[in-house]
């Protein structure tokens, strides 16, 4: 249930939110900040786009978005990659300088969670830029989009960063039960594609419902979207909560919605929307696909869809993502929004928790900063983290550090591991549930969890030799000095 509560944004954040209404706006804004480049040379779809995507994503701090407009064999087509591929780009979207520490971005996301007033603006379909062009016959996705193979052993060409909108097949008029999520889409025939979901996800649930009740399931695949959509569509919200509303709340500015021909709500300013319908009980061979743990998922039978129509802007930009062995844009895109819900859930019971870093491979490794209330307390907090909705499947390795250790600064985390960890003081919990595609599972879906308590010792612990910590200066004063030093380095300050 939403309320009228909003969160105050800084003047810069308000200006960014007012200016960025689409992918195109964001690319232009990033370009002015040195965070979007146009690749000047002609590229082949394979392996050039893959290689340049990896190179751009290797710099998780300030790697740029890259736009290709000289793709050999696809005259006039455009691709954008790595749009969310660095924390610098995310910082700019949130109205912060691009060198803002990740810890500050994490706290900004947490702060914006306090807002729950949906900010949605309705645009008449005939006025929506996404409807500048419309196709319903002779559709060939291979000629409409500059498709390419993301990793060398993928089973085909994937649309891997689209936001898919679908209505509940049994309650098609319920806006809240309309789902928006990112699912991997493998293009099959000219007008068919598979969409991978599992029964536990909202989309999988809707596929099961449609087939059990013999009802149509209509989807709209939004490609090249407002940057908040991709960032927040991946955040788990309740089944009856709208991802559109959530994304607009997090941006603090209205998202422009219009109605697709198939009745779903779509972003009015997306580059392209592919409308499709589930072919009930039909399956196609899908995969492999290089997934976020850095290994290929297997070949499976996956539900098949048929394209019913395509709407797109003039000269649409195909926004896609590189995903595979980390670090990749996928890690940056979902990292903060994976960390934030775990933090919020822990904080309710344990106010001593100060930050959660679950950036690594969707939280397969998590680092939690907590103030020990008493000796051994951090281990209890770790157990609670394993019981959070995301933790149940994903949090495999947990590192617990003191509240004065920044869990987003791996040099500080390594200090904690080096000086606070006793090897006889770690916990292994065998035979726990695990993400099926985690290659470290004993069998798919089952494996072991690890908790490393790297917090400081407290009585009645054995405190060890020389237990008096150096009081290292930290906090806002040091942050300000670091910012000043960066400005001096860039020659921007007196």
């Amino acid at each position: 249930m939403h309320t009228e509560k909003t969160v105050a944004l800084s003047a810069t954040a308000r200006a960014v939110a007012a200016r960025v209404g689409s992918l195109r706006d964001f690319l232009a804004f990033l370009g002015e900040q040195g965070q979007c480049v146009h690749w000047p040379d002609p590229v082949l779809p394979e392996p050039d786009i893959r290689n340049i995507s990896v190179a751009a994503g290797n710099d998780a701090t300030t790697g740029p978005a890259v736009v290709f407009d000289k793709i050999r064999g696809y005259p006039g087509k455009r691709i954008a990659i790595n749009v969310h591929g660095s924390f610098g780009n995310l910082a700019l979207l949130l109205g912060y300088p691009k060198t803002t520490p990740i810890r500050d971005l994490f706290h900004e996301i947490i702060r914006r969670w306090g807002s729950d007033k949906p900010l949605l603006e309705r645009i008449a379909p005939e006025k929506a830029p996404v409807n500048e062009n419309r196709l319903e016959k002779n559709i060939n996705l291979y000629s409409l989009l500059p498709l390419y193979r993301i990793n060398a052993c993928d089973g085909g060409f994937y649309i891997a960063k689209a936001c898919v909108v679908s209505r509940d097949p049994l309650e098609p008029d319920n806006f809240g039960k309309q789902n928006v999520g990112i699912y991997r889409i493998q293009v099959m025939g000219p007008d068919t594609f598979t969409l991978l979901s599992i029964p536990a996800h909202d989309m999988g649930r809707q596929m099961l419902m449609a087939e059990q009740h013999n009802k149509p399931l209509k989807v709209s695949i939004m490609i090249g979207n407002h940057p908040a959509m991709a960032m927040f569509a991946a955040t788990p919200v309740g089944y009856d909560e709208s991802e559109f509303a959530y994304a607009s709340q997090m941006m603090g500015a209205p998202l422009r919605l219009t109605t697709a021909v198939n009745g779903t709500d779509i972003l009015a300013d997306s580059e392209m929307v592919i409308e499709g319908e589930l072919l009930l009980n039909q399956r196609e061979v899908e995969g492999p696909f290089g997934e976020f743990p850095g290994s290929y998922s297997g070949v499976r039978k996956v539900p098949l869809f048929r394209v019913t129509g395509v709407s797109h802007r003039n000269d649409p930009i195909f926004e896609n993502i590189y995903i595979g062995k980390g670090w990749t844009e996928h890690d940056t895109l979902i990292g903060l929004n994976t960390s934030a819900p775990i933090y919020a859930q822990l904080k309710k019971d344990f106010p001593e928790v100060v930050a959660v870093n679950a950036l690594y491979q969707h939280g397969l490794t998590g680092i939690i900063a907590v103030r020990n209330r008493f000796s051994g307390f951090a281990k209890s907090v770790a157990m609670r983290a394993l019981g959070t909705p995301h933790g149940t499947m994903y949090l495999k390795n947990l590192i617990m550090v003191d509240d004065n250790v920044d869990p987003f600064d791996l040099n500080q985390v390594m200090w904690a591991l080096s000086t606070r960890t006793r090897a006889n003081d770690i916990i292994v919990i065998p035979n726990m549930p695990m993400v099926p595609i985690d290659p470290a599972a004993e069998v798919p879906g089952k494996g072991h969890r690890l908790i490393i308590d790297a917090t400081s010792f407290m009585l009645p612990d054995n405190l060890g030799a020389d237990p008096h910590l150096v009081d290292r200066p930290m906090g806002p004063e040091i942050d300000t000095l670091m910012q000043r030093l960066r400005e001096l380095q860039e020659g921007g300050a007196q």
């Binding site: 394979e46 050999r72 005259p75 025939g189 596929m207 061979v285």
Partner: protein
């Protein structure tokens, strides 16, 4: 003209799209009707040459009906 699938070596393949450069064909995208593999004939050998592709990625002799269903069809 058609090509054999690099993954399952089936001859049942279909042309999806021809890429054009300066008005001339540059590459062709093919799709296998047997194993659903899609490829472009300009790709590096590791993706389109059966001899250069890793053995684990080949699908010769696979019973496609026995593949795991991620969402089982209704009534199955």
């Amino acid at each position: 003209m058609s090509e054999h699938c690099p993954r399952c070596v089936s001859a049942e393949t279909a042309q999806m799209h021809v890429g054009i450069e300066n008005g001339q064909p540059l590459w062709t995208v093919w799709h296998c009707q047997t194993c659903a593999y899609t490829w472009r004939d300009s790709e590096p050998p590791e993706s389109i040459d059966p001899q250069s592709r890793p053995a684990w990625a080949q699908l010769q002799g696979v019973d496609f009906d026995s593949l795991r269903q991620v969402i089982p069809p209704a009534g199955k």
